[in-house]
Symmetry: C2
Subunit: 318 residues, 2 copies
């Protein structure tokens, strides 16, 4: 019987789906699969798309996929579902809309849940990207609802990050002004047929001019109407141009190094959290410390110090 | 000279502001201050208010503060600013609106930044709540933009969590249906003068009826118009009733235990992240491992294992 690795490498989409489910679940099986396949990864152009709910990210992703397919490139979409009580619906909508592409052999769309408070999500996401790269996707679009820290972290680890806004989202533009411009490599004012689109674009351009820009890349600000596809070609051109810029200026490897560092940071945090959870099961001493904090007999910082010593001594001995 | 502790306990608001700034920054000074003051903490009714951007959370908080003040109770508001490029503006708006209350001795309003991707935020938030409790606030409202994991975590650790929606936010209601009902202790359909308010309320009630409810509390679904204050009194009554329910059913202490556990979990994760960052500075070996992952020579899971062993051996030896 062929292994998942062999089937995935030979282009079996069911094996790909299974592989992503495995890495999403984490644990030893996931680590083993990544060990088998990581050498085939690291070759795609990762495009992060983020923005507030309602700005039309999913329609834009849909239109971008069509644009990319015109060039014959294989493209995957990873939609990160924040599993929050407030945004799940939008992602459901995406899944339905994206059915336009489901008959296309060279398009793959997958939602990933961002479950729990453990951040474990992101870990699965990094490995899911590896699976998609090993399968041979040349472009991977990572769509996030850019309001949570972990979504933002994922967006930032893309090679090219597209920030999507809509006309009149004054709060967004206000926030962008307040010093977070560096996240976006490309700015898109979507729903460009609504009043105020050009004004919004002008405002973004004006704030970009005030922003310190160490990379040497000048983020384009593009107006688009994703619904009709207007302006989407220019977004795709800008994304390719940005990738080329990163390669020519030797910044691509730095970005990828940052990405691996973020991933490792998430990993060690997650391992520490798991160790705490297991220790609470195992150790009466740790449960007592927790109870003492609740009772106001012990302060939390002293408790955390003691617990950490307990946890990691155990681990090192093991 | 009086210490910050003494000044804070004697009702000096400048000392309170300083104390929150200290715990927000973290480190040894923060830990020491918490050690001094944690015994005075744990007494307030913590009310979490969360919901998508634009549903009118800040107006509702404003109206709730007025309602609480009618009873003469001391109330503090902690607005968690997610520092995301997409929501900062809304919080700026809050600060301005809340100026209605700034002349009131017994109201305190503070924004806290949720900076970085490290989750370190939440830690400062827990300690800021302790400072407010030590100062003597009887009610503490924690306002979050409920789309990120860390905001949600904070909301969940409140005694009473109010989920705010607005009419016609079909996505929200869809998402609530998909199994996250248990987060809300009270549901508010805000902007109740907009069309569809009662329909939204009915939909929420219908989904609540399908939800398994182990606590025995039946979350009320209330329609309000925060702008005019209509319906806000009933929200405050519901919050008090919920607190009483938790006390009478002995669930308050369980909630507080969960809160401390979440806090400890965040703490150990943050310490692990910091150790990684410091190790990268210190150890060529770890930097090499990182470079090998980037180069595709080493898989990330094996690298993380090695790095963890390195980090925590160091820590244990130290």
């Amino acid at each position: 019987m062929k292994t998942i690795k062999d089937r995935l490498l030979s282009g079996d989409k069911r094996a790909l789906a299974r592989a992503i489910t495995i890495v999403e679940s984490g644990g030893k099986e996931a680590a083993d699969l990544v060990k088998d396949l990581f050498q085939y990864a690291g070759r795609a152009h990762l495009i992060g798309i983020t923005g507030s709910p309602g700005v039309g990210k999913s329609t834009l992703v849909d239109a971008l996929v069509s644009e990319i397919r015109k060039e014959g490139k294989k493209v995957a979409v990873l939609a990160i579902d924040p599993s929050s009580p407030f945004t799940g619906g939008a992602i459901l909508g995406d899944r339905i809309r994206m059915q336009d592409h489901t008959m296309d052999e060279n398009v793959y769309i997958r939602s990933m849940a961002n479950r729990g408070h453990t951040g474990g999500v992101s870990l699965g996401t990094y490995d899911a990207i590896r699976m998609l790269e090993a399968f041979g996707f040349e472009i991977i679009i990572i769509e996030t609802v850019g309001v949570g820290q972990s979504e933002l972290a994922i967006a930032k680890t893309a090679d090219t990050t597209i920030l999507v806004l809509m006309p009149g989202s004054g709060d967004d533009i206000q926030a962008i002004k307040s010093g977070i411009m560096e996240i976006g490599d490309i700015f898109v004012v979507n729903k460009g047929d609504l009043p105020g689109a050009n004004k919004s674009a002008t405002e973004i351009i004006a704030s970009l001019e005030l922003t310190h820009n160490p990379s040497g890349w000048h983020p384009p600000v593009l107006v688009a109407i994703s619904e009709s596809g207007e302006g989407v070609e220019r977004i795709w051109e800008a994304a390719k141009k940005h990738k080329m810029f990163l390669e020519e200026s030797n910044q691509l490897s730095q970005r990828r190094k940052n990405k691996v560092q973020s991933e490792l940071s998430e990993m060690v945090a997650e391992i520490a959290r798991q160790n705490l959870a297991e220790s609470l099961e195992r150790s009466q001493e740790i449960r007592d410390a927790l109870a003492d904090v609740v009772a106001g007999k012990l302060d939390p910082h002293t408790a955390a110090d003691g617990i950490l010593r307990n946890i990691f001594n155990h681990q090192v001995e093991a």
